[in-house]
Amino acid sequence: MTYEPPVTDYDHIVENCTCAFCGCNCDDLDYLVKDGHVVAVRHACRLGASKIMEDMDQRLIVPMIRDENGELKEVDWDTALDKAAEYIANSIRPVFYGWSETSTETMKEGVALGEYIGAVLDNQATICHGPSLQAVQNAGYPIQTLGEVQNRADMIAYSGSNAMNSHPRHMARYAVFCRGYFRQRGRFDRTVVTMDPKFSDTAKCSDKWIGFEQNGDYGFYNAIRAVLRGKELYQDVISGIPKEDIYELAEEMKNAEFGVLFFGLGLTHTLSKQRNIDIAIKMVQDLNKYSKWGLTPMRGHFNVNGFNIFMAFECGFAFGVDYCRGYPRYMMGETNTIDLLVRKEPDCFMVIAADPGAHFPNGANQHLADIPVIQIDIHWGPSTELADVVLPGSFIGVECAGTSYRMDGVPIFMKKAIDKPETCRDDEWIVRELKERVMKLREEPNTAPKYVPNPNAL
């Protein structure tokens, strides 16, 4: 990297903007604006800054449809929306995937459309913290806001999460380095433990690295639980960790005044999936017999938690909600995007504010090559290479205001700082337009002639 002089040529500063990158939702960014463009960002991490200082080469600017040669071609908004609405209205198993990088206001229109037409609505949780949600449904959910961590925590554990790379300000702003009301010396008042097979950048700045072996997470947490419950460990080495180290760690965790376990995809993506989180949650519950412990999943996108929260209050389920019968259904492994795609069920796929092209395994994405794909996004990405209709949206938190939920569930109003490109539209407007056009094309399927109460709820 070469040295770059600071940007000094700007018209004005917009303060306290919210970062639209990870689940930290840092709301203290300052944008330096010149001629209606953000020319630099203050306070953001490398990730946040690079997102806000977007690559205009790849900005989706105009609505496009694939022509007969398979090439994308600019069309006017009406044509593009009509084409997309036609795909949706003519489908019998549409899937609307994404939503984690847009506002809850947009989701509101999305759920209205999905409920109307009988679609599956799913978000990125399905490929990141879906197993965490499943574990939460098995075992419970002891969490706290990040300010609690800042003010009280004297022990922080990162498990299967490389915060320094994926949530770079997490340690600085909320968990480790920051000064808290009861932790006036910041970093010096806290013990940081990283549990990860990799000696990650987070591990490098921790007090302790527990490098359990690949797929060893389940065994390791069970061992800690056993020790917490006063059992003796018979094996000398468990999941690659000497038992003395496990005793020592358990003792330290018991003696913490306020501990927090932050866990990431390292736990959800390995073989034991939700069982890893199950056991981690139970470990935290056990620890509460001795001291105060909580946990928080390190949510990746700035509004991935928002979609789960939003869907929970709209329909009672967090993600993977199937409206095809006129009422919400949710079944892990059945109504989720990856499973649907692998089974080749969907016949229309709308991706909004997400990039399955970049993040789904090929075994799932292969089906996208066979069905119409509608993309609503701000950048040309791998998914654009598979899209049949492209609708350019606007950038929440920069060009458009909206609500998001931080990883700990704190709602943030992300304000608008600059105008969007004239040819783009707000996500909320796009989805509302689609909804209205679909409603004109097809009468609402799957409605009951009369309200019939569920006998189980009586």
């Binding site: 040529d9 990730l47 977007e54 790849q58 600017i61 994308l72 399905t126 995809l265 090929n362 292969q366």
Partner: protein, 189 residues
């Protein structure tokens, strides 16, 4: 206009100097995928067509001892195979080494070709802890658009992998018929 610049052509990796041919042609390893800060920054900036994304996401990070076994140096290319597919990647020394026997590939279209789509009924594919083999190759790492074309062939009339792999590159800029941003946005760079 002066914009702050976050572009970085290649991730910064530790130096290594492997001499000799190596001791094996095919190395059996454990594959992990995930994100790192270079991949994240590049992806979310939107620069996915660029050389930068290819280098951030299409790179197999290895323990230097494993690199010695194969006889490869930073930014040589390797072919990684799993039960689910194969892909050509750059190789480079992992910043998180030592982790002999494990390779790390950032998530992205390259990793997607070799990870497991199996969710075991829990919504989430198995992105980590997959058995793989790594071998030296002369093939080139494809840019994102070329890779998507090679893998999915959604808009080409050609079935043969080798033919598609060697088609003219789609390049580092979006290919479409229509107005470009330079024409639309009033700016002065």
């Amino acid at each position: 206009m002066h914009y702050a610049n976050t572009y970085l052509e290649k991730p910064v990796v530790p130096d290594v100097k492997i001499t000799g041919e190596g001791t094996t042609d095919v190395l059996k390893c454990m594959l992990n995928t995930g994100s790192d800060i270079y991949q994240g920054a590049c992806k979310k900036r939107g620069s996915t067509l660029k050389e930068e994304y290819k280098n951030a996401s299409g790179t197999c990070y290895m323990d230097p001892r494993d690199m010695a076994k194969l006889g490869v140096n930073n930014w040589d290319t390797v072919l990684v195979k799993t039960d689910f597919g194969e892909v050509v990647l750059n190789c480079a020394v992992s910043r998180d080494a030592p982790h002999e026997g494990t390779v790390f590939v950032c998530k992205g279209p390259w990793a997607n070709t070799i990870v497991s789509h199996d969710t075991y009924c829990c919504s989430d594919p198995t992105y980590k802890g997959i058995r793989c083999t790594v071998e030296k190759t002369d093939r080139k790492v494809l840019l994102m658009a070329d890779l998507m074309r090679w893998v999915y062939k959604k808009y080409v009339d050609e079935e043969d992998d080798d033919v598609v792999e060697n088609m003219d590159s789609l390049g580092e800029l979006p290919v479409y018929h229509g107005r470009k941003w330079e024409e639309l946005i009033d700016h002065d760079l």
